[in-house]
């Protein structure tokens, strides 16, 4: 770090004024980036009359939760909130398990053609969902899974685990061979090796995958739109998008709908912040 400071001495201003001006400019830029969040939050707690009178930029004259409450009741928001939580949690758990099994075979074992299988898994994750959409829609109807959260859980379990398998396999390929060899020599079965050794040792990576699978699934839109038509099974983004701009919805109700979409994500961000940063910087995860 000291060396780093030395090199930049030439460019560092002698007085602190320039330094502070840059910080202010950068802060203004950040404030601009955060403006949509601030605007939506501010206007969700105004009354309609207040908005009509003072416009979107004025600070709210107190907290008024009528718009939020009305919108919540109108779209029966508890239901999508429950659906999204169940879907995202199930997908995160199942996809982590499936990734673990796949990566155990591909990363530790030398299954024939493993490189190609891995490339194939990566492609499956990159594939545009519309190239699977109609058959999935048709199958879901055929198997009576249409409009049931289980359909979306199964689909995303596989799509997310495609990425998990790819990432976890490369982690496992660097797993110390001596440990595995020693365990197997002692007569440990492959299943025990996985359950008692490999899985516990890879919990940090598994937790990163869990968090990303959860958030990715929460944010999904295209396939849920196709597979979950009714309010009883809809996810949060879906319920909000479909009720957007509905007849009779006033401006404060619309900002309330934006806020209800943002809030859960902010909560996840705060809870999972450390895991997220670790994951993003480790794997270039998007």
């Amino acid at each position: 770090m000291a060396a780093h400071l030395m090199i930049d001495r030439k460019y560092r201003p002698k007085n602190g004024v320039v330094k502070w001006i840059t910080l202010i400019v950068l802060s203004v830029f950040l404030l601009l980036m955060l403006m949509p969040f601030i605007m939506v939050a501010m206007n969700s707690v105004k009354t309609e009359a207040e908005f009509a009178r003072y416009g979107p930029l004025s600070l709210p004259h107190g907290l008024n939760f009528t718009s939020l409450k009305d919108f919540w009741v109108r779209v029966n928001f508890t239901q999508p909130l429950k659906n999204s939580t169940i879907i995202s949690l199930s997908v995160a758990v199942l996809a982590v398990l499936l990734s673990l099994l796949n990566a155990f075979a591909l990363g530790l074992g030398k299954v024939r053609g493993r490189i190609w299988i891995l490339v194939f898994f990566l492609m499956a994750n990159f594939l545009p969902q519309e190239a699977l959409a109609y058959p999935l829609y048709y199958f879901a109807k055929f198997f009576h899974l249409y409009d049931k959260t289980l359909s979306v859980i199964l689909v995303f379990m596989v799509i997310q685990s495609a990425f998990g398998t790819y990432l976890l396999s490369s982690v496992f390929s660097t797993f110390p061979r001596e440990i595995i060899e020693a365990a197997l020599m002692d007569g440990c079965s492959k299943l025990k090796l996985l359950v008692y050794l490999v899985a516990p040792l890879s919990i940090p990576t598994l937790s990163v995958l869990f968090v990303f699978f959860f958030i990715w699934t929460w944010n999904e839109f295209f396939l849920p739109l196709i597979l979950l038509p009714s309010n009883a099974s809809q996810t949060v983004p879906l319920a909000l998008a479909i009720n957007q701009g509905q007849y009779g919805m006033n401006i404060t109700a619309q900002s309330a709908s934006g806020l209800l979409g943002i809030l859960p994500c902010i909560i996840f961000f705060l809870i999972f912040q450390r895991t997220l940063t670790r994951g993003i910087t480790a794997g270039g995860i998007k």
């Binding site: 060396a3 780093h4 930049d8 560092r12 330094k19 910080l23 950068l26 980036m33 949509p36 605007m39 416009g55 979107p56 099994l101 155990f104 075979a105 074992g109 030398k110 299954v111 490339v119 492609m123 499956a124 990159f126 594939l127 545009p128 519309e130 190239a131 699977l132 959409a133 109609y134 058959p135 999935l136 048709y138 199958f139 596989v158 799509i159 685990s161 495609a162 061979r177 197997l184 020599m185 996985l194 944010n219 839109f221 295209f222 196709i226 983004p237 879906l238 909000l240 998008a241 957007q244 401006i251 619309q254 934006g258 979409g261 943002i262 994500c265 902010i266 940063t277 910087t281 998007k286």
Partner: protein
């Protein structure tokens, strides 16, 4: 002994069985069925009729598809080109200048702030920005009117001449944080001594940035370019909520166009063809990327 050693690599195949079955049912079979449908005329109800390559011929001459594809390429400017360039500058600035002058915590705070839009679902981005850009009482037009530029205020998303541009602005806002985070992590690999040596040799800031920093974090730049490009080619939610592809087809993108064929005009066969074309493009891009990446790794290890 020999038998034992070789057995550490064997007997894992059985663990792949659930994964393979799941993949067959959810990815491979639907993909092949989609391929099959692309050779048919099908409304989704009665039996599909085999029409050979007609859908592909139609695709080649379909001006709306090409318009959607062109829109997708234009969106690359907003979702890959600008975020990578601004992300590089912003990450270097935060890492070099802000962290050195104000400490790690301040630079981490800015990083988190810029990243925040990235955590939102695509549909919520659409809802928030549709609200901001609303023509009558939206924030943007309100500000324009307040500062006396009411002549500029108009229906940003409803006017064909500005709709795509408005979507692009939204996407830049959404994308910026991702490269900033990745590049800041990558910059930790850049040796300060190297930059110092370059300074002593009289290299300018830009020369150091261009020849050392960019060169060293090339792998991350490549990853960001690939992931953002693929994300752009798959974009759906934002377009669905913001404009519904309109006005006319001014903001249509291939994924939305395919969706319309499937579920609005009931031309399932043609929708399959459109979606397959996009799948092929994405697969080719991925192969190209893996090739470049491995060539780069080979070059570095030599």
């Amino acid at each position: 002994m020999k038998h034992k050693t070789s057995s550490i690599y064997k007997g894992y195949g059985v663990f792949l069985i659930p994964g393979i079955i799941a993949f067959l049912v959810i990815i491979i079979i639907p993909f092949l069925v989609n391929l099959g449908i692309s050779f048919t005329k099908w409304s989704g109800v009665r039996a599909p009729v085999w029409i050979g390559l007609s859908n592909y011929q139609r695709l080649i001459g379909d001006s709306v598809f090409w318009l959607s594809f062109r829109n997708n390429l234009i969106l690359l400017i907003a979702m890959t080109v600008i975020p990578v360039i601004v992300g590089l500058l912003l990450a270097t600035f935060l890492f070099d200048y802000i962290a050195n002058n104000f400490g790690q915590r301040v630079s981490s705070f800015f990083r988190a702030g810029f990243y925040l839009p990235q955590i939102l679902p695509s549909a919520v981005i659409g809802i928030v920005w549709a609200w901001i850009l609303q023509p009558d009482w939206g924030v943007v037009n309100y500000i324009l009117k307040a500062i006396g530029l009411s002549s500029l205020a108009h229906d940003w998303l409803g006017d064909p001449s500005t709709a795509l541009l408005a979507v692009m602005v939204v996407m830049v806002w959404f994308q910026i944080g991702y490269p900033v985070v990745i590049f800041m992590a990558a910059l930790q690999r850049v040796e300060p001594e190297l930059l110092e040596a370059a300074s002593i040799d009289g290299a300018s800031w830009f020369q150091k940035f261009y020849y050392i920093t960019i060169h060293l974090i090339r792998p991350e730049i490549l990853v960001v370019i690939l992931t953002t490009t693929i994300y752009t080619l798959k974009i759906f939610g934002q377009v669905y909520v913001l404009t519904g592809g309109g006005p006319g087809n001014a903001t249509s993108v291939p994924s939305y166009y395919a969706y319309k064929q499937f579920f609005e005009t009931q031309q399932v066969g043609y929708g399959s063809t459109v979606s397959l074309a996009m799948a092929v493009i994405i697969v080719l891009l991925t192969i190209l990327f893996i090739n470049i990446q491995s060539r780069q790794e080979n070059a570095e290890s030599v």
